[in-house]
Amino acid sequence: MKLEEVKHRIKKVVANVLKMDESEISDDANFIFDLGADSMQSMLLIAAFEEEFDIEMDVEKAQEVQTIGGAVDFIAAYL
């Protein structure tokens, strides 16, 4: 899967979980600092990424991922 596609799908998941418009999400947006995700939403995002990409992530490491760009690299490694 191309990285562009991964990014697109990640943004879609984020927009869905955080209930915001996809256009508001920049490539380097920080889930907490820029998008306002709280701790519960951060956990929901991890679960939603796993479902979207049909993967099982290392939750502890996944929690350290802070940005859209970081998530793209992290998830791509599982694909």
Binding site: M20, N30, F33, D34, L35, G36, D38, Q66
Partner: protein
């Protein structure tokens, strides 16, 4: 004060009196830290504008919200960061870009969670330095300022306390909320209330310097879990006390922790972390408290009543039993029962029933009403032999509790003497206690609890009357001693045994005796002839810490034959008890006349630097544990205090027909040793044991010494 300390001092005024506050990372969710802090700030009715900064919200509580702090058009004095630790640095960076100079970082998840957290904390400090920001926290409850010119509640404490003159600073946030609740119930107000958490940037030392000039603060209370800069804390406290006459009370947790388990000397073993802390606080004039209750008991005595000028109290009670208990506690604490003047006794006789006890403690009898309390208090307070008054009340059917409370307040206000009260009980006396508290009469649940606060305030007042001692000046430095120690370290030596230790001590003019090392019997005989008899012979080995324990010391050697015999015996003893020890040789030294054996020592403490110990010496030093400590360097008066502080000081001062020992020579040795300690930071521990002290005027001599290097 460091440059950063100066910056903090300037920035702290803005922190306590901000004209605009941004709450960075807040939200609308009440019951969460980010949500509650914004609400608490608003509800306190602050003297400034509040800006919520939230990535998602357009407004919070009807106030326009900003996505980023840099989006705020106005100037911002103070930012309160409530984002999680993972993004706190992003928020702090933006605060720097916005030009904000004071920040409170509430977020947890830093050094308290381990190495990764510590790394995040260091990142925060780097950002703060880059932008000249001063920050409180992280991992804290926040900051409260009750001054009507500020009314800042940048915290997630449930309550905004009433205004008062007590500043409370705490390393523990959770303790803060409990203290606020406790204080509210006792009608105690605060000037400033600061939870400083991990004290990564602004520490208790910076806060002490700020509070020194804070007009609203009369007493400073400090709860500490760790002391990172002990010397800095001592210096700041000393300055606050000397310049502003504000008492500094510290509750330091971890009293039972002993950091001496791996010590290789008597001094190291006896100088536990807590004892050093005790000594350092005493030296700095800090009042150390045992618990929160005691801390506030003392604080209210300072804040609400005048300072006693005499250490003599009058006890006035309507109950014999509590009167006797309080008398016992008073004497035990070291306070005197005032001897009433004839005039006072006559007045009391005329105005109290014949069944009353007019001598101190004054028992005005169980059926006493307000008039008897007024008569007794008025007489006592006018008596020049009385320094303060303890009033005890037990609720009996005819006791007009509220009226008595009001009358106590009236009389107390008229005179410049402290009046404390204990209305014993709970339900019946509640309204009376409230009246006392509203009228600034310190109230104590148990009458015995009046004693310690009285004594502490009295002692503090006495301390203020004394002329301030200048900072001790180091009069002796030795490059030779330093080189010797550094060379030993290069050779990986852990110890300097007696011969070499004495060389170093001699550099500081300490009273060493003639001593040489012999590596064979023939050398020993030669050295013995040079020094002269009687002699002491001791084994020298890096592997042997306590020579007596391995039969490595022989005294009273008076002839060549005895020298040869002692040499062989010592070697044999050591070989039997500690065969693995490498023996350097046998030291031979002159045996000084008999005297009192004391110990002097040095221990390097990570917080306070070099600490000096004095005490009862000899082989039982760790059994008697009769020792005192001070942080080096010390002056003569401090050295004298150290001597007086041990239980056995009477032995030195002369008792039961014995002549006094040469105290002046001990004082001189303590002072010189303290200079040596400061001059040689590579000394980890040192024992001079024993220092043999002769009769007054005849001096003292170091009979044995060892130095343990870093």
């Amino acid at each position: 004060m460091s440059n950063r300390g100066k910056l903090h001092l300037a920035n702290l005024q803005t922190l306590f009196y901000p004209k605009s506050i941004a709450v960075v990372g807040t939200n609308r969710v009440i019951g969460t830290v980010p949500g509650d802090i914004f609400v608490n700030i608003l509800h306190a009715d602050p003297q400034g504008i509040v800006f919520p900064v939230s990535p998602r919200e357009k407004y919070i509580g009807g106030v326009k919200a900003y996505k980023y702090v840099i989006d705020i058009e106005d100037e911002v004095d103070l930012a309160v960061i409530v984002f999680p630790s993972s993004v706190a640095k992003l928020a702090l960076e933006q605060c720097g870009q916005k030009g904000i100079k004071t920040v409170i970082i509430i977020s947890a998840g830093f050094r308290e969670v381990g190495e990764k957290g510590l790394a995040k904390e260091n990142e925060l400090l780097e950002i703060a330095k880059k932008y000249d920001i001063s920050f409180i926290g992280p991992n804290c409850l926040g900051v409260i300022n009750t001054d009507p010119d500020s009314r800042l509640n940048a915290s997630f404490a449930r309550k905004f306390p009433s205004q008062g003159n007590i500043a409370f600073l705490s390393q523990s946030g959770a303790l803060c909320t409990a203290v606020l609740d406790y204080a509210q119930a006792k009608n105690i107000g605060f000037s400033k209330f600061v939870s400083f958490g991990n004290k990564t940037d602004i520490s208790e030392i910076d806060l002490l310097y700020y509070l020194m000039d804070d007009e609203k603060t009369k007493v400073i209370l400090l709860y500490l879990e760790e002391i990172t800069d002990g010397c800095g804390l001592m210096k700041a406290a000393r300055e606050v006390i000397d310049k502003s006459h504000k008492p500094v009370l510290i509750l330091k947790s971890g009293r039972t922790k002993e950091g001496a388990s791996a010590a290789a000397s008597h001094t190291g073993s006896l100088a536990g972390e807590d004892k050093i802390c005790d000594a350092a606080f005493k030296q700095a004039g800090i009042i150390r408290c045992e618990n929160i209750e005691e801390m506030f008991n003392i604080a209210i005595a300072f804040v609400y009543q005048p300072k006693p000028k005499r250490n003599d109290v009058a006890i006035i009670t309507n109950a014999g039993g509590p009167g006797v208990l309080t008398t016992d506690a008073t004497i035990k604490e070291g306070i005197n029962l005032a001897q009433f003047s004839e005039e006072t006794l006559l007045y009391l006789k005329r105005n109290l029933p014949t069944t009353a006890n007019i001598k101190n403690p004054v028992d005005i009898i169980g059926d006493a009403r307000a008039d008897r309390y007024v008569a007794a208090i008025s007489a006592a307070v006018r008596d020049e032999n009385v320094g303060g008054i303890f009033i005890i009340l037990t609720p009996q059917s005819m006791t007009d509790i509220d009226t008595i409370a009001k009358e106590i307040a009236k009389v107390a206000e008229e005179f410049d003497k402290p009046v404390y009260a204990s209305f014993m009980g709970e339900a019946d006396v509640a309204s009376g206690i409230k009246i006392l508290q509203q009228n600034n009469i310190p109230h104590y649940v148990l009458p015995e609890s009046m004693c310690k606060p009285f004594l502490k305030v009295y002692e503090f007042n006495q301390q203020l009357q004394k002329e301030n001692n200048p900072e001790p000046v180091i009069t002796k430095q030795s490059q030779e001693a330093k080189s010797f120690i550094n060379n030993s370290l290069k050779l990986n030596r852990k110890y300097l045994y007696e011969i070499n230790a004495i060389k170093v001590l001699a550099e500081y003019d300490l009273p060493v005796i003639k001593s040489r090392l012999a590596k064979s019997v023939s050398e020993a005989l030669q050295v013995a002839e040079e020094i002269g008899y009687p002699l002491v012979m001791k084994v020298m080995s890096d592997d042997i810490v306590h020579k007596f324990d391995v039969g490595g010391v022989m005294l009273n050697i008076n002839s060549k034959e005895e020298v040869s015999g002692a040499y062989e015996t010592i070697l044999k003893n050591v070989e039997t008890i500690m065969p693995e020890a490498t023996i350097e040789g046998i030291s031979i030294s002159e045996q000084v006349a008999q005297g009192v054996e004391v110990i002097l020592g040095i221990k390097k403490d990570p917080s306070f630097g070099s600490v000096i110990m004095f005490g009862v010496g000899g082989i039982f030093v760790e059994i008697f544990k009769d020792v005192s400590f001070r942080v080096a360097p010390v002056q003569k008066d401090t050295a004298f205090e150290m001597i007086n502080e041990i239980k056995a000081s009477k032995l030195l001062l002369g008792t039961r027909g014995k002549k006094p020992a040469d105290i002046d020579s001990i004082i001189e040795s303590i002072v010189k040793l303290s200079h040596m300690a400061v001059d040689n930071p590579n000394i980890k521990e040192l024992d001079i044991n024993p220092l043999i002290v002769l009769e007054q005027g005849k001096g003292c001599f170091i009979a044995d010494a060892k130095i343990i290097l870093k």
